[in-house]
């Protein structure tokens, strides 16, 4: 009889920090203490707090161990599992003072600052069930929504409940999901398709990967429901080949669903047939665009095509197709089971439900968080994310990756939803949230994202292919200190032109990082151009290291550290940096104990 379960995260983050070895070590140790029949090891999907990985949770206590190393395993087994003493050194306990006072012993996961304000809908099974077990999914109400749909509801009922819930596309577009489904349903054809877009390409976004790795069955179930609602019998999941764990678990999930008769012919004796296929993407960013994605599934080079015709009319293989993102699908079974009103009770006026954000950059708790729409950026960064490390000041957050914009510190109290973000020239995007502090140069950030789109432009239309390249050249001029204010006007004009004339979403949104930084941080651009200075001290060409003669004690440490011999001076006398030789590596600044090296 199992009395305790040890959940070990098997997401990509924790796998790369060694959780696989933990699982085997746990199994060995359990045998050593004769506990193998009492304690079960369960590999799960992502818990969200990737920063603290590898993560291990012991139930029924719900003890959350972080940064668990191989050598810690025997301690957990001997102390916690055998003797019932929680290993306090390993417990993650970032909690408020009140909770700390109340809790006499180790706190449970749900009370930590990171988890307590989260509402997990799309991620509800991630880190809770073993993703390779269909039985565990069923135990958590899995496939009950599909059963309900096929035995009690008409396709129109399904579309109505999805429409009423107010669910909008989580891939970034924010198009109402129910309406999308109704368009496909309204078109008659001998064959229709459902496509799941799992080609998550925004740098810094990994929520789709987490859902596929942690709860693959919910995508299988949701796509089948969508098939029934729209009249499709075939589905394709287009997933990046760079997500091997997700691909493997999806394939296992599809196999298991087939064995249980939850995919295939006559599901739930309803006469409805549905089949699913996995297609791997080769990693082109443009294939996340819906028409390019379908072109790629068809076996052609992934290039977008003009819309209309929209996929609902002429999509995959020229047939009516519904395409949704992973996170959108992940909400569907819960909406069916708990009702449209329940879902619509969360969020804001026009953005219902929750949204998953991938926190990255200059933030303490890197990881995945799912919060109700309408939560402010301040809450996400300060309360859940734990704030900025090393006491630095928050400068801006980039949302929506290379298609999005940035939210400056002055707008930190903006309630995050689709419309509020659009109103400030930003976008929700797929939910990547990259936090930047005072040491980040906004021109450099804009250049980074533009570099990405220049690389990823498919080349089909010239505004995107040539325009983004010209924009990057102007940005290079700015960061090299060679630009004029006319270049800035040219940059803006070009950006607006590319936005209006590109063929697909990639080009239409590529100038956004530049436009958004220009809007909120124009002074930084001007500083680069007019003063030839990079205020954050990032752009190398504009940097100058020098030594403050009053502070320098002549200890020679910097001179010894300088890789190019640019620093000279005699012992106990102030040193000098030869700026012609200096390569601006900053080694002197890191070495100086007296704060005598200044950057500017």
């Amino acid at each position: 009889m199992i009395r305790s379960q040890v959940l070990v995260c098997g997401g990509t983050g924790c796998t790369s920090s060694g959780s696989k070895t933990l699982i085997s070590t746990f199994e060995e140790e359990l045998v050593k203490y004769g506990l193998q029949d009492e304690v079960k090891i369960v590999p799960t999907g992502c818990f969200g707090l990737c920063e603290k990985g590898p993560v291990v949770i012991v139930y029924p206590e719900g003890t959350f161990y972080s940064h668990v190393k191989k050598d810690d395993v025997s301690k957990i087994v001997e102390e916690h599992l055998l003797k019932g003493r929680i290993v306090n050194d390993l417990v993650y306990a970032d909690v408020s003072e009140e909770v700390k006072e109340e809790a006499s012993k180790a706190v449970s996961l749900n009370e930590t600052n990171f988890y307590k304000t989260q509402r997990r809908v799309a991620l509800r099974n991630c880190g809770v069930i073993n993703p390779e077990s269909i039985e565990e999914y069923i135990a958590m109400d899995g496939y009950a929504a599909l059963g309900k749909v096929l035995t009690e509801m008409t396709p129109q009922d399904v579309i109505k409940i999805v429409t009423d819930s107010g669910l909008r596309g989580r891939g970034g577009g924010g198009f109402p999901t129910g309406r999308k489904w109704s368009f496909t349903a309204a078109n008659s054809a001998d064959q229709k398709y459902v496509v799941c877009n799992a080609d998550e390409g925004d740098p810094g976004a990994f929520m789709d990967r987490s859902v596929l790795e942690g709860d693959p069955h919910c995508i299988v179930e949701a796509m089948t429901i969508c098939g029934y609602a729209t009249g499709a019998t075939e589905g394709y999941i287009y997933v990046r080949a760079e997500y091997p764990i997700a691909v493997k678990r999806l394939e296992i999930a599809i196999e298991q669903a087939k064995e249980y008769g939850l995919l295939g012919e006559n599901i739930f004796d309803s006469g409805f047939n549905f089949n699913l296929h996995v297609r791997l993407g080769a990693g082109a960013f443009v294939c996340g665009e819906e028409t390019a994605l379908m072109t790629s599934i068809e076996g052609n080079r992934g290039e977008p095509r003009p819309r209309p015709p929209y996929p609902a009319v002429k999509g995959l293989f020229g047939k009516p197709t519904t395409e949704n993102n992973v996170e959108t699908f992940a909400n569907i079974p819960q909406i069916i089971l708990r009702g449209a009103e329940w879902f619509a009770s969360m969020g804001t006026e026009r953005s219902k439900g929750t949204k998953v954000f991938a926190l990255g950059g200059k933030i303490k708790n890197t990881g995945l968080v799912e919060i109700p729409m309408g939560t402010t950026l301040r809450e996400i960064i300060e309360d859940i994310g734990g704030g900025i490390p090393n006491g630095k000041k928050f400068k801006a957050a980039q949302t929506g990756g290379p298609s999005g914009g940035c939210i400056p510190a002055s707008l930190m109290d903006t309630e995050i939803d689709y419309d509020n973000l659009t109103a400030i020239g930003c976008m929700m995007g797929s939910g990547g949230l990259i936090v930047m502090d005072e040491d980040n140069c906004m021109v450099d950030i804009a250049k980074f994202f533009l570099d990405f789109t220049v690389d990823e432009s498919c080349g089909k239309c010239s505004p995107c292919r040539i325009g983004t390249k010209r924009m990057r050249e102007i940005l290079d001029k700015i960061t090299d200190g060679k630009a004029t204010l006319e270049d800035l006007d040219k940059l803006e004009e070009l950006a607006n032109y590319i936005k209006q004339n590109s063929l697909c979403g990639l080009g239409q949104t590529a100038p956004n990082p530049v436009l958004a930084t220009l809007r909120f941080f124009r002074d930084e651009y001007v500083a680069h151009i007019v003063d030839k200075k990079c205020p954050a001290g990032v752009c190398k060409a504009l940097l100058n290291y020098s030594i403050d003669v009053d502070k320098c004690r002549g200890c020679t440490a910097c001179a010894r550290k300088c890789p190019v011999g640019a620093i000279s001076g005699t012992v106990k006398k102030p040193h000098v940096i030869d700026s012609d030789k200096c390569i601006k590596c900053g080694a002197c600044m890191d070495t100086c104990k007296f704060g005598a090296v200044v950057k500017g």
């Binding site: 009492e38 029924p60 719900g62 019932g84 069930i129 039985e135 565990e136 069923i138 008769g261 739930f268």
Partner: protein, 123 residues
């Protein structure tokens, strides 16, 4: 899969395996499992609780957990039962048989077995 009943049957069968992770049982049974407890035979007591709670179909309501030394080593194995809004009940010198009885009478029936409690030993 032909019917909802079939799905419900799988769910029922699996429920016990995942319920542990919800950790929200209204009643918590905590077994002292320090060296003193183990030496006095706490392990079979813990296992008996886990088994009987499941057999009685109480796994959604009752969480069986372990803890370190409770501090009254002479009375080990010690088991404490916490229930929201009620005073904690401490059972002492437990055995697997007594555990089965506690599950039946106390956890299922709501009736504290006075003669096994610590108050009985002290007074």
């Amino acid at each position: 899969m032909k019917s909802l009943a079939e799905l419900a049957a799988i769910k029922e069968k699996m429920k016990d395996k995942v319920v542990l992770r919800e950790g929200s049982g209204e009643i918590r049974v905590v077994v002292g499992m320090a060296t003193c407890g183990i030496a006095a035979g706490a392990r079979p007591v813990l296992n008996a609780f886990v088994e009987k709670v499941n057999e009685a179909g109480l796994s959604e309501k009752v969480t069986v957990s372990q803890t370190g030394c409770i501090g009254v080593c002479q009375f080990e194995p010690v088991v404490e039962i916490f229930e929201a809004g009620k005073e904690k009940v401490t059972y002492i010198k437990m055995t697997a048989e007594k555990a089965a009885e506690v599950v039946e009478k106390h956890l299922k029936g709501g009736e504290v077995i006075q003669e096994y409690t610590i108050s009985n030993a002290i007074s």
